[in-house]
């Protein structure tokens, strides 16, 4: 039976990144995924969070900042190859669907709101029949960030209304087929080079082609926002990765549920996947575990105070007791205890137990199943995902 150099379990941001990095280093890579990963849910921007004053148990301490920078550079290269240009910076503003600003480190050029600088008038444009995008609310909230600019809302009709609801994803697919009706409608705004146009993320589902086509016809700078899932910018990033994996000969198995590992002492020799007829074993020299946290079922919890990692039954660290598990406020200035649940590792990202003993030498844990910090609160989930994946793939 063929033995891969690397098996990656999980097809979210961390899994795709790990597979791409390993493949770029001429390794034979097999990816096993069960769900669709969390990228369709994500904004497509990658936040790093703060890199300063990190506690010793912080995943970034194990990963190392140099890997974060290398990972960012790698991601910019990969996406550029798919005509999905990303910009890198410490604090790039992004307009959200509700009209707040968020700040990110890796942002698709189409969402880079620093391009609003110097613009006098902002058009916030909604599409008739498209749900989840409310131009008046967005403009009302965004005004607070830009008191010197004038705002105007507009509604354009691309005759999207069919027999059912239209999401940003539906609109993006329709517009990718033919951008011209959108370009024609935007022309009627008579926006000048001194203006900007803010739209929901509807410029296609592959790269930046659709936006380029429209932008060349419109003088005003066009900016996309984030949106409720499914999110076209997240899917564009996913597809950019997939394109790279396909051209690199990575074997990608979807709907493949890994149920347990095959281990010999401190070595994992393969993983067992569930199959309709019988179980099947995939073998590899190295395994990268990128199964995610609670959202992706990389960690599950049937009973209170008993979270589990379901494939290797790795030790999971978590805050005990109801009072430490969550905050009374959903949104507050404090991290949520439950969100710190996860696996602890050494500097090689090998899982460790409570005494610091390494459990497996060729198993590397990356992405959202790393424990210790509330990555959503810190805004570090994206940075930790790509940096740990990069390190896991290059070790």
């Amino acid at each position: 039976m063929k033995i891969s150099d690397v098996i990656v379990v999980g097809g979210g941001l961390a899994g795709l990144m790990a597979a791409a990095v390993a493949a770029s280093r001429k390794q034979s890579v097999t990816v096993l995924t069960y769900g669709s990963g969390s990228l369709p849910l994500a904004s497509g921007t990658i936040d790093f969070g703060s890199l300063k004053n990190l506690p010793a148990h912080h995943p970034y301490k194990k990963i190392g900042v140099s890997n974060l920078n290398a990972a960012a550079k790698f991601l910019v290269d990969i996406t550029a190859q798919a005509n999905l240009p990303y910009v890198v910076g410490e604090k790039i503003p992004v307009v959200t669907a509700v009209g707040t600003l968020k700040y990110s480190a890796l942002v698709p050029e189409s969402m880079d709101a620093s391009q609003l600088a110097g613009k006098k008038k902002i058009f916030v444009v909604e599409l008739a029949g498209l749900k989840d995008f409310y131009a008046p609310m967005l403009a009302d909230n965004l005004k607070k960030f830009f008191p010197d600019k004038t705002f105007e809302t507009a509604k354009i009709d691309l005759h999207l209304l069919g027999g059912r609801d239209i999401t940003c994803m539906d609109a993006a697919q329709l517009i990718a087929d033919n951008e011209q009706p959108l370009a024609n409608e935007l022309k009627t705004l008579n926006a000048t080079a001194d203006d900007a146009i803010i739209l929901p993320p509807i410029f296609g589902v592959m790269g930046n082609f659709s936006r380029s086509t429209v932008q060349t016809q419109i003088k005003a700078q066009i900016i996309e926002t984030t949106c409720l899932p499914p999110s076209p910018p997240g899917i564009r990033l996913q597809r950019a990765f997939m394109k790279f994996l396909q051209s690199s000969g990575v074997k990608f198995f979807e709907n493949t549920k890994v149920v347990r590992g095959v281990v010999e002492g401190r070595k994992v020799t393969g993983v067992v996947v569930e199959n309709v007829v019988r179980e099947k074993i995939f073998r590899a020299k190295k395994i990268i575990l990128a199964t995610g946290g609670f959202y992706s079922s990389g960690i599950t919890m049937r009973d209170f105070d008993n979270p589990r990692e379901p494939i290797f039954d790795l030790p999971v660290f978590f805050p005990t007791g109801a009072e430490n598990w969550s905050n009374a406020q959903l949104f507050s200035d404090k991290p949520q205890g439950f969100a710190t649940t996860g696996i602890f590792t050494n500097e090689r990202l090998n899982p460790i137990d409570a005494d610091g003993n390494v459990l497996f030498d060729n198993l590397h844990v990356v992405g959202n199943n790393l424990g210790g910090v509330d990555k959503i609160f810190e805004r570090s989930a994206g940075g930790i995902a790509i940096a740990s994946a990069y390190k896991g793939a290059t070790l």
């Binding site: 936040d47 509700v98 749900k131 409310y134 409720l228 049937r302 209170f304 959903l330």
Partner: protein, 537 residues
């Protein structure tokens, strides 16, 4: 000064029942409620329309009242009652001697309890524990939607001239020489204080009846008794499933549409506003529940919630589960205050009977001889097939029926008109509960829709599977556009408030697939929408 004949204090089932009854008898009445309608025990309970089986041993008077009212409610409240039937199951750990008492108690109370074989029980309820269940009976329990019933009671009252003011708190009574002249109230939004002149006031404030009594200087024996419940995201049971034993915690499962409610606990609390729930309470309910349904932990919990039963404690009486579920009417003329009544205790199933008895006394005082008709006339008319067919062009039949029973004839017709006229109004604001934009627009116009949560309770947006993940944004945006209160314009605050309201019930059940949903909520609203950062970071 605003004037009416009777002021009804409290917008729970009892108060609403009284408003309807008085209005139907031609008595001018106005109901004041300090919050939104059914903010207390009338919505924070398991939604069980008792057959009386639960009281067949301990309190046969209550059992008899239940079975009679149960039959009446099925007749007059078709669109808020789901006639799913009930089952009593005795487990191996339950006392067989109690079963004998119970069978006799049901017979004596006029409750039809049909013994069925275990095979039949497992066929009807496949998830029942084959290990523990030892005997089973069918009874005429049903599920009832407290929210829906409240809106329908209001619709019915309004048809007869009944009036309603929500978010209007009673702050005092105006009396002259021991005789009531009016009720002093405060508008909760504007803070404006004013008096409503009246001949009679009824304190139907449930768990708050003691506080209202204090304002009038009278002592009322009411003990708020908190019950905690769990809502599961699946229909685990087809019938109301009760444990056949001496009434205790966590022994009733009630199916509602696509969910199941497990309840309840019983804990005396000083404050009826205390609707807190804890992991310990949840764990204890699940532990008891999984004796009847062994795989209970594999079902996703939507949320937990709690409400306070207003138990009536006569001087020297028992508290907690031992306290009577009966009700009491007090004419405070005996305390030297002519014109004030208090009605306290009882249970949701018998709200109509309580209202009837109360109104009989009021009408006697007013010299009104009109008989009570609340048991004969349906709360609302049924939506016509023609209107349903019109609506089916725009949304699925399941959604059509939900909307029809939720909205009632008049509003449903208006919603269908909106759907026909404006294609954009057909979008689903809430996919989980099948709520269209047209319905949200119509309900936002309602005179009891002040805050976004009022719209939530009336339409059910945010109350389904996703617990607001998708509709919080939509609801806040629509409410900013349509809401009448100035606070509606602060869409970010309203959005966070909406999600925080959901969080309150999710937090004590944060495990299993509920954790996944919460991670999704945080990913959307903290990462993609940055509702916590904004300008700060």
């Amino acid at each position: 000064m605003e004037k009416t004949t009777v002021v009804v204090i409290g917008g729970g089932a009892t108060g609403l029942g009284i408003l309807r009854d008085l209005s139907m008898r031609g008595v001018k009445a106005l109901l004041v409620e300090k919050n939104d309608l059914v903010n207390g025990a009338s919505s924070r309970y398991h939604g069980l329309l008792h057959s009386g089986g639960r009281y067949a041993v301990k309190d046969q008077e209550a059992a008899k009242e239940c079975i009679i009212e149960n039959q009446i409610m099925r007749k007059i409240g078709k669109s808020c009652v789901e006639p799913c039937g009930g089952m009593f199951t005795r487990l191996d750990i339950d006392d067989p001697a109690y079963e004998e008492l119970w069978v006799k108690g049901c017979a004596d109370s006029g409750i039809e309890a049909t013994p069925i074989t275990l095979d039949e029980a497992f066929r009807l309820e496949p998830r029942l524990s084959r290990k523990h269940v030892k005997s089973a009976y069918l009874v005429p329990d049903a599920a009832v939607d407290g929210f829906r019933m409240a809106w329908q009671l209001i619709d019915s009252s309004k048809r007869y001239g009944g009036q309603l003011k929500t978010y209007t708190e009673v702050i005092g009574f105006d009396t002259v020489n021991g005789e009531l002249r009016g009720v002093k109230v405060r508008n909760q939004f504007t803070g404006e204080e004013y008096e409503i002149g009246c001949d009679i006031a009824v304190n139907a404030a449930g768990g708050w009846a003691g506080f209202v009594g204090k304002l009038a200087g009278v002592e009322i024996g009411v003990q708020p008794d908190k019950g905690t419940l769990i809502a599961f995201n699946q229909r685990i049971v087809n019938h109301v499933v009760n444990r056949l034993h001496k009434s205790s915690d966590g022994d009733i499962f009630v199916p509602h549409g696509s969910i199941t409610i497990l309840g309840t606990s019983s804990m005396s609390v000083p404050d009826p506003e205390d609707t807190s729930t804890s992991r310990a309470e949840v764990e204890s309910l699940i532990k008891i529940g999984e004796q009847t349904f062994e795989d209970l932990r594999d079902f996703r919990i939507l949320r937990t919630f709690a409400g306070s039963r207003p138990l009536y404690i006569p001087p020297g009486g028992a508290v907690g589960r031992s306290a009577s579920r009966g009700f009491a009417i007090v004419d405070h003329e005996q305390d030297g205050l002519k014109g004030l009544f208090t009605i306290v205790g009882g249970k949701f199933t018998t709200y109509r009977l309580m209202a009837e008895k109360m109104c009989d006394q009021i009408c006697a005082k007013l010299g009104n001889n009109t008989p009570c008709r609340t048991a004969d006339e349906p709360l609302v008319e049924e939506v016509s097939q023609a209107d349903k067919d019109r609506a089916r062009k725009f949304f699925p039949s399941y959604g059509t029926n939900l909307a029809a029973t939720r909205l009632g004839v008049d509003r449903f017709k208006k919603v269908v008109e909106r759907l026909e006229a404006d294609p954009e109004s057909r979008e689903l604001v809430c996919e989980c509960e099948n709520v269209t934009r047209a319905e949200v627009e119509e309900i936002c116009k309602d005179d009891t829709s002040f805050i976004v949560n009022d719209v939530r309770r009336r339409t059910r947006i945010g109350m389904g599977t996703c617990q607001g993940n998708f509709c919080a944004l939509r609801a806040a945006a629509l409410f900013a556009e349509l809401g009448t209160e100035p606070s509606a314009k602060d869409s970010l605050a309203r959005m966070k408030e909406f999600l925080q309201g959901r969080w309150k019930g999710i937090r004590p059940v944060l495990l299993g697939r509920t954790l996944r949903e919460t991670e999704m909520t945080r990913s959307i609203y903290e990462l993609s929408m940055n509702v916590t950062g904004g300008d700060a970071r």
